[in-house]
Amino acid sequence: MTASTVTRPVGSATGPAPRRTSSPSPRLRLLVCAAVVVAALAWIAVRGLTSSFVYYLTPSDIVVAHKADVGQRVRLGGLVVAGSVSRVHDGALRFTVTDGRRSMRVVSTGSVPELFRAGQGVVLEGALRADHRFHADTLLVKHDGQYRAPDLGSSAQEG
């Protein structure tokens, strides 16, 4: 440790801070290069993730592309088909989700968020079983990001 040289300040206590006008030091150049490399790697990672990282599969992914095996735990996303929702005596919620091309029947045993309704986007966590239904234990509702105040003119408000 040669700490004794540390105490010598470069600037003066009262004068203005000296500007660095010379060319950047080798260390700075190295750091800038490292920054560029890291940024490039990050960009590649993002591009890679774009194709490989999917938060949920669509019914088409499962029915057509067979991206999920029977029993494999995945997320399934899609729109709830109008008129398909029913709650049977065992308490499970049954409905169909669609991505516009293919659809899949779902049996959901988890809690149901208040915003769940036909036409809503949902994400389900569970697995496809041998009965060709998707058995979900978690039901998440995707909000469409539309915010509206209640229509004060009409008395009939959706609950």
Partner: protein, 267 residues
Amino acid sequence: MNILDGAMVAMGTRRAQRVLALATLAALAATAVAGLYVVPPDVEQGDVQRLMYVHVPAAWLAFLSFGVVSLASLAYLRTGRIRWDRVAVASAEIGVLFCTLTIVLGSLWGRPVWGAWWTWDPRLTTTVVLLLVYVAYLSLRRVADSAARRAQWSAVVGVVGFVDVPIVHMSVVWWRSLHQEATVLRPGAPTMDTSMLATLLLGVLAFSLAYTYLMTVRLRVGRLEDHAAGTVMSRPAPRAGVPRRPGPVVVGGTVARTAGRAGGLDA
């Protein structure tokens, strides 16, 4: 640069800080009143949608904070003036605060609306990465053994770390996600009623004032810290046998880079 310096000095006075603090409190109170009582609840979500008026401003201010970190870090790397390092660290600390606030408020909002406190959706995941990057930034500052190295290392992280901000913003477009897409910062008109948008912008104003106020306070603390460190370092040489840390040498706003390099812990 002189205008900027003048502005920073003007904002740093006690009087300016008192005015800023009062303006911040008033704007936050106005946001609370507008968000809780004046604006009607969302037709679908009901009252819980009011969380938007704090969640979204917190997220935007986190982005802004980290933007300031990257610009100040860039300015430090170009000029070597320690004041830019002070700006960067001040903004990073406040950004971590806002980013944490964003995640906590989003979690509170997600439970009733989505049905989950948390899910590894791309938006949420990239936001956690963002928080971790700037927590790492602050941790790195504790590792460096000299002020010059601390400023230089953290400036590089401060510049590179900002890469995640556009990724967070675009995550809902690039990947399938549970989080909704942008409602205001999007091509086309915002997908919300005008009264809601006005309240949201009031919240953004209030949070921006809070950011400015916190920045002025943190910058003053930073100046005092550096001044104290400089005072300590300019004392007479320590007695023999008393270990001395190769600490910051900060006088007149510039770090002694060459001196820091001689600090003894170089690889």
